[in-house]
Symmetry: C2
Subunit: 333 residues, 2 copies
């Protein structure tokens, strides 16, 4: 059997975030639905950028943020995603490698530019996202290195991968390789609208056991089961999967199995600045806990700690060592 | 007489900051002197970037940061500086215009890339800078629009402009136009090593009255007069200029005239994150106070408030409206 080289390997859209602060009326004026992710074309991207206030550029991408968080906890990690060989692609590749993540996906030499996500942060810290997928659309099954996948204890996939057309095949290929190697496959549902676009396919992945571990927030879970009743949705989820984690913002998370529901509180914060990356970093901590084989509550605490770090500054990636932060808070795997 | 269209017009190097956190030993390993700015070539830039941890990109440039701060207070402002027409140049232009600053300098179509400053932030919040001047080196006297300069109540120049060879001529040309139009000229000494490179020229500018208002921090002032004795340096400064402001980090500032020394305390902060932009934003607030014709103490308070905002997050430009922040703190011009 192939030995484990990575605790977690993520596959996702390789994106650079372009972040600005704005008042609520900016969202209204530009037809943006608060707290969600919309896909945009290049013309709309130019229009939004023109209208946005001064920005900060910071590498992003949901699964990429998670994997960087995993590395920040000191765990071994890898990422697969498509950039173009351009300025923002170089930035993305630099940042993820500088975070200690193995990143070997071949950059596109031509075609659309590296993906960008225009993130608008309102005064309440909530983020509203507009993504131009660019080069990330061209992630292809041939970008999946079977040997690398087989050497990862957990592979982690983002629901957003269902948006680029070839990426879902890459996703399914990777899940198959992982399972053949005896590994676990995790999926995050990503966004309530993303769930709405691919509900039946996601349910199918979960019910057929293509994914072993489901990450969702409350909105995504309700969207999945088309219900406003959280407890009813949890009930359905317990029938459909053997393991899930549902995040509830300041109310913490619930670890869900057919046999148990384990609530874990959120980690206290001083000041909410920007929720971008909250779910991504929660997943990072939780996955690190799973990789270490800790109990559900400890997994949830790792997740809560990482989420608390990232929402107290602008940008979706940790600005301090999560390993050191965990140690300072008495958390060890 | 030409009417005033801008409260403050800044001339400086147009730079995008590339910011990473690092431990002290990173500075030692890469031969960097903490808290200072070093000029680097493209090869050294590549080497430093390769070694740096994950970064955030944020528009910078000393005078540019100041001018964005002036705009954030609601004052009318303009900036002159040289970018190239490339990805980072587009970012710089977007951000400064999106901040409400008039920016009309023609971008270079060829030659070196837009300037970058690699900023290393240590755990104490101190920043150490390495600047690749790139396109900023090619700011030329022909980039100085006489009519625009004549319409600015104060022009603000950074000492760093002495590094690119043509820029100092642009500087002198702009100062001459401003004085002919009856305007005031301010200079920041920028950095103790910058003062060391151009001491005699800076003293000459000050003594001959080419500049009317001098901004310096304690280190720059001591470098200017080659003394370790702060009070002796202040004494010399009072002989050389009619108006200066000396900043002293957490000890606030001193407004210096031949007749008076007015100390103003720093503004209290919750947590020091990144000192990048502290001096730049202090100058922004102070200049806004001067433009409004307020007393020295109020000018210092405006400066202290803006500096306090910028050192509590990563990046050298304000992340909230300084006008709103000033109002919330009972400061009005």
């Amino acid at each position: 059997m192939t030995s484990v080289q990575y605790d977690v390997l993520g596959i996702g859209n390789a994106i650079v975030d372009v972040i600005a602060q704005a008042e609520e009326d900016f969202l209204v004026a530009h037809g943006m639905q608060k707290g969600t992710m919309a896909l945009i074309d290049e013309a709309r991207a130019a229009q939004i950028y023109q209208a946005m206030g001064p920005t900060i550029e910071s590498s992003g991408g949901s699964a990429a943020n998670t994997i960087v968080g995993v590395a920040s906890f000191g765990a071994r990690s890898a990422f697969v995603g498509k950039i173009k060989k351009d300025t923002l692609g170089d930035v993305f590749a630099h940042d993820i490698r500088a975070s200690g993540v193995a990143f070997e996906t071949e950059p596109a030499k031509d075609g659309p530019a590296t993906a960008r996500c225009y993130v608008v942060v309102t005064p309440d810290g909530e983020r509203t996202m507009n993504t131009f997928l660019g080069a990330a659309q061209n992630l292809h099954p041939r970008d999946i290195d079977a040997d690398m996948i087989a050497r990862a204890a957990i592979i982690y996939l983002e629901g957003y991968l269902w948006d680029p057309k070839d990426a879902k095949e890459a996703f399914v290929k990777a899940a198959k390789i992982a399972h053949e190697a005896g590994r676990r496959v995790a999926l995050t549902l990503s966004d309530a609208f993303c769930v709405d676009r691919y509900r039946d396919e996601f349910l199918n992945l979960i019910r057929k056991g293509t994914v072993d571990i489901v990450f969702a927030n409350e909105g995504e879970l309700k969207s999945l089961y088309q219900t406003a009743d959280f407890h009813a949705a949890i009930g359905q989820l317990r029938n459909d999967t053997r393991f899930a984690v549902v995040t509830r913002s300041e109310h913490g998370c619930v670890v869900v199995t057919p046999a148990s529901l384990t609530p874990v509180p959120a980690f206290p914060i001083d000041k909410l600045v920007d929720t971008t990356g909250a779910g991504d970093l929660f997943a990072a901590g939780f996955l690190v806990g799973l990789a270490h084989g800790t109990d559900h509550t400890t997994c949830g605490k790792f997740g809560a700690l990482a989420a608390a770090e990232v929402i107290q500054h602008v940008g979706a990636r940790p600005q301090q060592s999560l390993k050191a932060l965990a140690a300072a808070n008495g958390l060890r795997g």
